[in-house]
Amino acid sequence: MTSSPPSPNRRSLIQASAGGALAFALNPLLHAAQPRLKAPVKIALVGAGRQGRGILAELAKFEDVTLAGVCDIDERRLKSASRRAKGAPTYASMDALLEGQPDLDAIVIATPSHLHRAPAEQALAAGKHVYCEAPLATTVADAKAIVAAARKAERVFQTGLLGRANPVYALARSFVRTGAIRDVFSMRAQTHIKNSWRTPASDPARERALNWRLDPEVSLGLAGEFGVHQFDVVHWYTGQYPSSVRATGGVMAWRDGREVADTVHVQHRYPSDAQLDWSGTLGNTYGETQEELFGTMGTVRLAWSHGWMFKESDAETLGWEVYANRQQFHNDEGITLIADATQLAAQGKLTDGVGLPHPSLYYGLETFLKSVTEGAPVACSAEEGMRATVVAVQTDQALRSGEEIAITPEMLEAE
């Protein structure tokens, strides 16, 4: 460390050059307030639940996107979502949507997980680009059928596994891939929320349909609904899939007669012997949603809107780290990973950059829209989505059976 702080010009130059070295994978317009596309897009949403409403909010930021329809079989969901939908027409079925809006370019599918396949196949067959929420499906057969349909259609198909589109995650991944924390030999991730997962329903017919997450016949439980997103971050960072999975869990917090476990502990063992420990619960919010990758020279910690790198005390310190923005967590000091560091540093506003300027979902949709309008590479293909889904399906299977389940290359191959 120097004995006196460098002049502001030199400091920002160091930060700018460090940021510049890492910016190669990043969107230079990250900080732009007005997202523009190279062409207009007419898009519709199928599945108007909470996730669907989140999608509507992010799509509304794009001036070049016309929301041409919102579709849901449930009238009350449709009514609730349409308040956000800028006056777009509503439809009670895919058939009605496709007939009513023949000029649609793309469809976003946010129906319950076990009901993705039919609308995805129908949308692809109708020649539309498709963004499909994760998990892709709740069975291996359905996931592979979606891949087959996507391949045949020659349209953009993106799976909504948002880690792969997240700018902070891309930045952290570049650190990991270039060896900043050396070998990743252990991983940990969690999703903690406090919610019963119950949806009120006025009559028994709606009750079962609305409470699909708690229906053991169709639900992949916490591993499928939460774990899949985080398992896939590890797949993306390591370039590998687990070779075997184990899971235990039970009903710990919501003892209301349910069968789907509300607390789950998962172990994914990788071919390198590295292991991911994942836990999910509906009974506690501590730590919320995060992933940690441990290497012998450091740790990367990711929390969707934020990311940090913690260096081991015997790791080499790079010049730019001396001036990096830091955050203290008890005895650990993390370097904040700032996705638009170069531009912000040049404006002297580096601390403003802590935390992404948009929710994760925005980046998933933005990259999809760019794939549709300018042929940008797809952030998460149908195949990648299928493989993550297969891992989630087998994890849930391990939980139900109490057995360790091997993940073979055949399981991960599209047919």
Partner: protein, 317 residues
């Protein structure tokens, strides 16, 4: 009965649901209502970088050259409501003062922007036909703190009503309250306005209430003690009243309106024009109390009889 809570907007929100129906159902309806509050928090917070308001404020910094900024339907309707309330309160309610909050040390400063003395009317044009907004001054910053709690409670109440819940009380930080039907055996939810056994009590049934007080956040600026409520016409602290309580019947208004009017009453004082049905109680800096209420019937805000035991369901501070 189910009692649920969540942290949002820098305070604790609570719902108390007392319909005599199975707890599972009440709880799940309550969770959906809380999810609306949490969603509103994530969308409106000026302190969260990825909120919609922060997105709009970054766009505002580009100035009028940026052109109109697209909005989703709900944000559009919220901004239109703010527009109406700015006009109907004669500018006493003004959510366009964010930058001034920075200048008085009540928010982190941004030295790169030029000062802006105007408010909403000078710089915000909400399109009345299409969901978009135009900002005409790069130093404008939206701060919806004056209506955020009411807005969130209205969304939560809609979910409860939709789920068939009839008897409930919801509040945000005890300073904004929304009452649906009363508890079984009562005519109204009783909300004490302030601490102590002598505080008046509001009797709420299908009504919203908002308390605004100048003794909230404050900062010392050169020459003056600045409170977090600013008078848009002077740019300085509000001084029309020290404490204002507004109640609004749900048949003609909502919690958002109650929030906006109680904030405006701190600025304009008890003379603030209010729509029919609204009751306004204000305590000025001299300690005098003004109480304006609709003609006929009992007032909602009543003195507590000297010998009555403290039986309020909620103490609003």
């Amino acid at each position: 009965m189910e009692r649920l809570g969540t942290q949002a907007m820098g305070t604790r929100f609570e719902l108390v649901l007392v319909d005599e129906i199975p707890g599972d159902y009440l709880r799940s309806a309550g969770e959906e209502a809380l999810a609306e509050i949490e969603d509103a928090h994530r969308r409106l917070s000026a302190f969260m970088r990825d909120s919609v308001v922060s997105h709009l404020n970054r766009a505002a910094q580009l100035g009028p050259e940026a052109g109109p900024i697209p909005l989703d339907g709900e944000m559009w309707r919220l901004l239109l409501r703010c527009d109406e309330l700015v006009a109907s309160t004669g500018g006493a309610f003004d959510p366009g003062l964010g930058l001034r909050m920075e200048q008085l040390g009540l928010r982190e400063p941004d030295a790169t922007r030029e000062p802006y003395q105007g408010g909403w009317s000078g710089a915000v044009e909400v399109d009345s036909e299409r969901p978009r907004v135009r900002f005409s001054h790069p130093s404008l910053a939206l701060d919806l703190g004056g209506v955020a709690k009411g807005y969130a409670l209205d969304l939560a109440a809609d979910v409860l009503i939709d789920a068939g819940i009839e008897r409930a009380i919801l509040h945000g930080g005890t300073s904004t309250v929304l009452a649906l039907g009363p508890p079984p055996g009562s005519n109204a939810w009783q909300v004490a306005i302030g601490p102590g056994p002598r505080a008046p009590v509001a009797h709420l049934c299908h009504a919203a209430l908002s308390v605004s007080d100048t003794s909230g956040r404050s900062a010392v600026a050169p020459g003056a003690l600045a409170t977090h409520v600013l008078d848009p016409s002077t740019g300085g602290s509000a001084c029309g009243a020290d404490r204002a309580v507004v109640t609004v019947p749900l048949e003609s208004g909502d919690a958002l309106m109650a929030d906006a009017l109680s904030t405006a009453a701190l600025v304009r004082g008890p003379e603030l024009p209010t729509p029919a049905g609204v009751e306004l109680w204000a305590k000025t800096s001299t300690g005098s109390i003004a109480h304006r209420r609709p003609p006929g019937g009992r007032p909602i805000i009543r003195k507590r009889p000297a010998a009555a035991p403290s039986s309020a369901h909620l103490e609003s501070t």
